[in-house]
Structures are given as structure tokens and as C-alpha cells.
Symmetry: C2
Amino acid sequence: MAPRWKGKGAEAKALADPVSKIVAQLQSSLIQTSASGILSGCSVLIAAEAEQTDLFSRACFGRPIVTVDKDKQWFQLSLEEAFFLCYSLKCLKIKVGDSSPKSYEELWHCMITRKETFSDLYKAYSHLRMKNWVVKSGSQYGVDFVAYRHHPSLVHSEYAVLVLSEGVGNDLNGRLRVWSDFHCTTRLCGSVVKTLLVLYINRNGNSNVSPLCLEKYTVEERTVSRWSPEQCREE
Amino acid sequence: MAPRWKGKGAEAKALADPVSKIVAQLQSSLIQTSASGILSGCSVLIAAEAEQTDLFSRACFGRPIVTVDKDKQWFQLSLEEAFFLCYSLKCLKIKVGDSSPKSYEELWHCMITRKETFSDLYKAYSHLRMKNWVVKSGSQYGVDFVAYRHHPSLVHSEYAVLVLSEGVGNDLNGRLRVWSDFHCTTRLCGSVVKTLLVLYINRNGNSNVSPLCLEKYTVEERTVSRWSPEQCREE
């Protein structure tokens, strides 16, 4: 399935301004201002400078939230987005309450405590982000993530992403276990013109007690499509 | 959601010729000819007389299959359809191979051996059929059944039916366990304009060793719909 660009010129616009470049700009801007966010529930809040507001939006991290604070635009980042900026891009510090910024180990522990599926979802999220896919929540489509080739204003999301894992008792394993769920998912993906991408996180026998485990996890990728015997017949 | 009739006059046509009447005609015709079917794999094959061919189609049991036999039209019934005609309507005998017709107990045993979820699916199927819903396979939509108010040529199916059960290790329990599956299912149902109907089969502590258990099973019905906060706001 080819990417579905939104209107004329969208593809050229995307090519002229690659996601990798925008993310690098955001990274360098956050480093220069020693940006920090605050962990709150299952998200991280950050007050962005004017330039950063633009970069957060263009790089598709978080969503702007309305506050009484007129001078600063606040952004709400998901745990995966925040940890990616913090741990993988090393451009964001994260605090819990009024304390000093947490170490990677402490943060990781906070996150897997708040969301038991965090380690596998983060592996999947960072795996796609590292390849310059724009990754957003897929809850609207009943999947874990949706992946875009570029900014959602320029292109429709191409992949509906489900993350499965071998982790015992892991909620991620509740999906695609029976045929009716498989049919339901591929049919829905078809009707919203997305390809189902299943990322299977193989922990290779490692636990999830530290972010160092991420390097030892591997990712198997499968796309799943409906197949119609009528379409494949002899003439 | 109101029933979606197919074209003008469809509703009047349906009212003039209720499903209960058509099924009663099929029942009496099958009794008169001492009809019998043959269990083959996960379906039951039956050679229909001319009048019965029409009644099978109008009552929506089975699907016609093409054979070299020009004098008779063969129908392929699902296990639920066949057992409903045999056990609930007492108008069809079922043989296995060349033997004499099987008793209800023997047939039940054959069916739960071939399909481990049969007892719960049959309870759901017969529950809806007894209330004069037309029930067909829902595999196209990733659910167990779809339910129509009348014949599919007159009306679109209104309900996508998922059957859940307390039976241990039962495949039926693989659905709706995680939120992403819930979202996926309700979103798909919305996009095909059906309401999700979840039938929860409560075995009330009874096993499934005999068809007599069916009377002891109870059915809880729930419809599940998406709710949008925007639609329910103050003016």
C-alpha cells in the first residue's frame, strides 16, 4: 500500500523537511535550554519555549494542553515519548514532584510500575522512532500505535501497530489469540486503509528490571493483510 | 439504532411474512419428508426437495452448494444450524456415515468433539433463533455471529454477536480481555453500522457432557457502543 499524502505538494514538502532533521532540531533545542519535564500519572508535562512549541508540534511529540499560564505552552507527553527524549535522545530530564531529575534506572522503575507493559511498548515505540517513523497512540483504532511516514498533517498513518510479547501475564498477550480477533483487527485496518503491523518483542530471556535490557530485546516485524481468493484467480 | 431496511417496501414485505412463519413451514416440510442430513467435518449436508430449497433459503439455514447431482439441491448447514433443526425443532435426523440416525446424546458428543466451543456457541445461536432472529456466521466481521431482523435480502444485519463463556480454557474467552480489543471491536462494529451484542453464557456450574445442560445454562446480554463526550455536552 502506497503512502496516502494529504493533497498536492504534501509529498514534496515532506521530502524537503525530513522527520530526522526536525527531531534533531528539537533535540538540540531541548539540550540548549536544559529542558526538564514532570512525571504526573501516566504522562510527563513540560513547559515549552516558543521555538520548542513549534518543534514539538512538527516532530509530533506530545499534545499541547491549555493552562492559565499565558507565557508558556505546556505539552503532555506519553511515557514512551518522554522516555525516548530522555533516554534515547538524551535531551530531556524528568523530575518526579519537586525532587532533582531522576536517573535512567529510577525513571525506568517509575514507568514500569505505572504501566506494566511499558518495557515492551517502549521497545516497539523506540524501534519505530529510531527509523524516523512518526508514532502516535493507536487507541482510536483499537491498536497500540499508529505510524506515519511524516507529520499527520501531510500524510495518513500507514500502519496500525500491535505489540505482542512473550512476557508472562503480560496484557499485550491478550491480542490476536483467537481467529475472530484476527479477523476483527485486519478488517478494521482495511476499512481505515492501514496495514496491520505486528511487532513481536522477544525478550531473549532477559527481565525488565533496568533500561539496559532494551538492548537485549529483539523485535520481529510482521505485516498482516486480508487475502481474497477472488483477486488471485486465473483470468 | 433502527433496522436498516434494503429499499422501499422491504419492511412491509418482512411484516407480511414473519420469520417465525417461514421457519414453521420449513419445520413441517422437513418432518413430512423425514429429512435427514449427513455430518461431514464441521458441517451437515442435506439434499433438499424443491419446496425445501426455497424454504431453506427464505429461512436462512445453510448455504446451497453446487454438485453434479442435477435433481437435488444440496445445502451445507453449520453445526449450530443442523443441531437447532434436529434438537430444538425436532425436524431433522442426522447420520454419521452410513449408520442410522444418531441420538441427541450421540450427536452432541460428536459436535463438542469436533468444535470445543460448540456448547456455548449453540446456546447463543438457539437463544437468538428462538426469538426469531436470523443468525449467520460473523467471521467476515471478526465476531461469532451476525443477527438480522429478517432475511438478509430485506435488511442489513443489526447486531455483531460475540459469545463469551466461563468455560475454563475456552477459546471464547480470548476476546475483549484487553482494552485495545474492545476498541477494535466497537470501532469495527460502528464502521459497518452494527451494534456489538455480547452474549455471556453462564454455565451455572454445569458441565457440557449432554444437551440437557443447555436448559441450565443462562444467557446474559449486553450491547456495547462507543460514546463520544462531544455528543453529550451542554449546549
